[in-house]
């Protein structure tokens, strides 16, 4: 069983943490969504670049729920079927802000570094 997990890591080249970040962002930007909806938006945004096993979204959702950054509720889907909707919480928003700031800082540093190389 442990072998399976490694395979999963190989297939998707997206780190656990960044998937969490993406899910948070989707929920923040587009409001409450169910799992399928989140997967679709991520696919849309990444413009087919990210090859994602959609099941991993649920793992991410579980993690985020346990940390209290999202909450779940049952509601009706588009064709009036019962579905589980997730929404971001206040602490989730704070976490999102923190991580966004983090990413932007790192991106900035890398950017400066790379432009530095060029001058060399």
């Amino acid at each position: 069983m442990s072998k399976g997990r490694h395979e999963e890591a190989q297939k998707s080249e997206v780190l656990q943490g960044t998937l969490d970040l993406m899910v948070l962002k989707v929920l923040d930007a587009l409001g409450p969504q169910h799992g399928y909806g989140i997967a679709r938006r991520i696919e849309q945004v990444s413009q087919q670049v990210l090859q994602l096993n959609e099941g991993t979204v649920y793992t991410s959702l579980l993690r985020l729920q346990q940390r209290g950054w999202i909450a779940s509720d049952w509601g009706a889907s588009e064709n009036n079927r019962k579905a589980k909707y997730y929404s971001i919480t206040k602490s989730g928003r704070k976490q999102l802000a923190r991580e966004t700031e983090n990413w932007e800082r790192i991106a900035g540093v890398i950017g400066r570094l790379l432009s530095l190389e060029g001058k060399g």
Binding site: N53, E54, G55, T59
Partner: protein, 894 residues
């Protein structure tokens, strides 16, 4: 952190079976897959293609479910529960294996724990007082013996006053007392102690208080402290007992308190029901009926060292004081016994005990025996586990093949082994409690009852459990490790032998070991059982099938000597008149009571060089005593009522005394002198009786002299012996009534048949014979079962070979003998090893035997034949099965 708590909560919910989250996830997954499929259908795929594409896009569902499930419950606990329930199911599926394994483990563990616990209670447990390691006994060597009861009073006083070395010193003495309360009288064991007894021992009262401050300082008051058990038994734990008045031997005392539960004193095996303080002034004569009250002469002393004082310091200081005391006291300095002696301080955290001398060797022996039984049980367990592991090779191989991790399988087998060991251990604990009670029943109960709190000892339990767990792991795990090696293919293939050869050899070695050990135990059992038989067959000199004993202790305050003698005569007369009574007699000590004394006997008038002062047993008896016990009169006459106080002193001697003191001359009419000068009394011999045993059936014959109970020293604690014409038990009530009629406040105790008294004197030997017999038989059965298991397995694994042999013309009888020969080979090796061990260990037990050498050929041969016979039977069943093998079936199968 909140999210950790939330995660923990999720795990706990999962642990308790919350499957709701699993269902929700499944719903979500199904919804997601459906939506994906619909999307692909809209994009133009067929249903089937769409479904497949959806699954591919989704990824590993099972993995997702498992990851989700893992956040619920604790993985370790989950797998543990899984393993345990699988293990239980396996055990239940093979009831034979399980029963044998658990029984042998349970018995091994239980027996070991029980005996160890009894030994702990008698030998090793510290007294239930505060800081027992600070307690020391004062011991003065007298000749070869060291007597702790022989400290001069002056020395005791000095030790009491020495505040630098000692934090206090106490003395005590026990005696049977008549206790009267609320109109009813019973006999109890009383202990007379110094006022500081409880404070020095550091024991507080459970109810009320211990002795008052004045008494503790050395004054005297009629205060009594009850033991906890007595308080429960007699007063029903009534708190109102404090302040009650009780009578002890006729004197009034006030109950001031109850000592704590589990406290019994300083003598292991005794728990006096009531304690009173000693009279401080040795010359005080106020209470003659309680002689032990007086502090006088030589006493046993126990003292507590101060915390910062070492034993050497105390010893040196006390020695100085001791020498000074001897010098200063004219009595002591002139007594040759004290010359050149040195005092010794003996650390006594475990108190003293009469039981230690008597039961030391038998218990040690039994401990050795049960250790062997445990070994056999472990060997059996090992054998059984090895057999089972071999049978499960294929199961394990299959599980490995479909993806079980090796570590996971090993963990499971480990759990299974532990399961058996712990179940066996649990059974062992139960058996230990029960066995301890049985063991306790062997301890003799005389005029001093043995009271011992024995409970299964945790250390022993832990040790024996550890041994079995180790065995379980070793023999359950080792073959499992082997079986899970990645040579799966060979195991799956039928007919593979692989490492079977080695396993069979190991199992055979184990069986040989079992047979050897079992034979050793069987030989021991046979020797001890025969010893007991020999002891019982000894003619003790009595013809006493229907004799009942009653012991009494008339309180001296109420019975002046004359009145006491009248009482005795009247009692005998009345009892002999009862219907069904043939005769009745009294004896001060009586045979096998442990109280028979001895004295120096000299024959006055013999020329000095032939006058050999010899010791003889001395007892005081009444008329008809000999008749009541069936001791024949060989010459002269029995005592009569004429042999009263005031009449000439008369004595009856036994034939050994007649021979030793008078050779061939008729002793009737001649005189004997009893006692050490200057306290010598002369007696005229009036009769000669046949010799009997006195203290023990084992003793060599010694001369005995009997004096009249109605002459000389007043009776102290005489026993009435009543001989019935037919059955004795119906007479108990009428004899009791007779006692009541004469004095309703006289406690009568220690009521038993003479046969039982005789039996109790053989307590040690009975204990050893019964238990070694039980264990010998048990060990033999275990060895037989082990043998059966190995042979059955061997036959099963060689079915093909047997089939071939039979197909080629071998007769069933030939096959039977082939297998039997294998069995006998193993047994003979075991027997030889067992015999050598028995011969080597013979010396160890020779002095526990009676009339029997430890290498007695008949006994050993009997035991060996029994073992061979049982083993042969065990091997016969698989052999029979082998001879019935159908060659066609055998060759067709694996």
């Amino acid at each position: 952190m909140i999210h950790h708590l939330r995660a923990l909560a999720a795990r706990l919910r999962g642990l308790f079976g919350d499957r709701g989250a699993d269902r929700e996830l499944n719903d979500e997954i199904n919804t997601h897959l459906r939506l994906l499929t619909e999307r692909y259908v809209r994009q133009g795929m067929t249903e089937t293609e769409a479904a497949q594409a959806a699954h591919r896009q989704f990824g590993n569902i099972t993995l997702l479910q498992e990851v989700n499930r893992e956040t619920r419950g604790f993985k370790i606990i989950d797998t543990l529960i899984q393993d345990l329930s699988y293990g239980m199911r396996l055990l239940l599926k093979s009831p034979g294996f399980t029963t044998v394994a658990l029984l042998s483990l349970g018995l091994g563990i239980g027996a070991n724990t029980a005996i160890f616990s009894l030994m702990d209670a008698i030998f090793w447990r510290h007294l239930p007082v505060s800081h027992p390691e600070q307690l020391v006994s004062i011991v003065i060597p007298l000749g070869e013996r060291e007597d702790p009861g022989f400290t001069p009073l002056a020395l005791f006083r000095e030790i009491q006053n020495n505040n630098q070395i000692f934090a206090g010193a106490i003395t005590n003495g026990a005696d049977g007392l008549s206790l009267t309360v609320d109109g009813a009288t019973e006999r109890v064991m009383g202990e007379v102690v110094t006022g500081n007894y409880f404070s020095v021992l550091g024991v507080n009262a459970f109810r009320g208080r211990t002795f008052s401050a004045e008494v503790a300082q050395g004054a005297w008051a009629p205060e009594a402290i009850l033991s906890y058990d007595f308080w429960q038994r007699r007063f029903g734990s009534d708190a109102g007992v404090v302040g009650k008045t009780i009578q002890l031997n006729g004197y009034s005392f006030t109950v001031v308190g109850v000592s704590p539960p589990h406290f019994f004193g300083t003598e292991v095996g005794m728990s006096p029901e009531v304690r009173v303080p000693k009279l401080p002034d040795p010359l005080d004569q106020t209470m003659p009926a309680m002689p032990l009250l007086k502090l006088s002469g030589y006493i046993p002393v126990m003292a507590r060292l101060k915390p910062d004082v070492s034993l050497q310091q105390a010893q040196a200081a006390t020695e100085v004081v001791y020498q000074r005391v001897i010098q200063d006291d004219p009595h002591l300095s002139s007594n040759p016994r004290f010359r050149g002696t040195h005092i010794r301080l003996l650390p006594s955290p475990r108190g003293t005990s009469r039981l230690r001398g008597e039961f030391g060797r038998p218990l040690a022996l039994l401990l050795g025996l049960v250790a062997l039984v445990l070994l056999i049980a472990c060997a059996n367990l090992a054998n059984l586990l090895l057999g089972r592991a071999a049978a499960r090779r294929r199961e394990l191989a299959v599980r490995l093949a479909i993806g079980a991790g090796r570590a996971r399988l090993i963990r499971q087998l480990f759990t299974e082994s532990l399961l058996i060991s712990f179940l066996g251990g649990a059974l062992g604990v139960l058996l230990a409690y029960w066995a301890v009670d049985i063991l306790f029943g062997f301890l003799p109960q005389n005029h001093i009852r043995t009271l011992l709190e024995v409970e299964p000892n945790l250390r022993a339990l832990g040790f024996t459990l550890g041994v079995t767990v180790l065995t379980g792991i070793l023999f359950g795990l080792a073959p499992a490790l082997q079986a899970t090696r990645p040579e799966i293919a060979s195991a799956l293939k039928s007919g593979s032998t692989g490492g079977r050869r080695r396993v069979i050899e190991l199992r055979q070695a184990l069986v040989v070991a079992e047979v050897a050990l079992a034979l050793l135990l069987l030989i021991g059992a046979a020797l001890f059982v025969r010893t007991l038989q020999n002891l019982k067959a000894v003619n003790a000199g009595f013809d006493a099938d229907n004799v009942l004993l009653f012991t009494m202790k008339p309180v001296h305050q109420r019975y002046a000597p004359a009145r006491l003698r009248n009482f005795c005569s009247e009692l005998l007369e009345r009892v002999e008149r009862l219907p069904g009574v043939r005769s009745a007699g009294l004896a001060e000590a009586g045979p096998f009571s442990g109280r028979e004394g001895s004295a120096l006997i000299t024959v006055p008038g013999s020329p000095p060089q032939t006058e050999r002062p010899t010791r003889a047993f001395v007892d005081r008896v009444s008329p008809h005593f000999f008749e009541s016990l069936g001791i024949p009169l060989l010459a002269g006459r029995d005592f009569s009522v004429a042999d009263q106080e005031g009449a000439p002193n008369t004595a009856i001697i036994d034939e050994i005394a007649a021979r030793d003191f008078f050779n061939e001359v008729n002793p009737i009419g001649r005189h004997l002198a009893v006692g050490r000068s200057p306290n010598v009394t002369e007696f005229e011999i009036i009769g000669v009786i046949k010799a009997t045993k006195h203290r023990s059936v084992r003793e060599a014959n010694q001369p005995a002299v009997y004096l009249s109970i109605l002459q000389g020293d007043r009776p102290w604690m005489p026993t009435l012996y009543v001989r019935a014409t037919n059955a004795i038990t119906p007479l108990t009530a009428s004899i009791r009534q007779t006692f009541q009629g004469l004095d309703k406040d006289l406690p009568v105790f220690n009521i038993k048949t003479f046969e039982r008294q005789l039996n109790e004197s053989l307590a040690q030997d009975r204990l050893v014979a019964t238990l070694s017999g039980f264990f010998g038989v048990l060990a033999t059965m275990l060895a037989a079962i082990g043998l059966y298991g190995v042979m059955a397995y061997a036959v099963a694994s060689r079915t093909q070979e047997i089939g071939i042999r039979m197909a080629l013309g071998a007769q069933p009888k030939g096959v039977l003998w082939l297998v039997m020969w294998e069995t006998l080979r193993l047994v003979m090796v075991g027997v030889v090893i067992g015999l050598s061990a028995a011969l080597a260990a013979a010396r160890l037990i020779s002095n526990l035997l009676f009339d029997l050498k430890p290498t007695d050929p008949l006994t050993i041969a009997m035991a060996a034949l029994l073992m061979i016979g049982i083993a042969a039977l065990a091997g016969y069943l698989p052999a029979r099965r082998a001879s019935h093998v159908d060659p066609l079936v055998a060759l067709r199968n694996e």
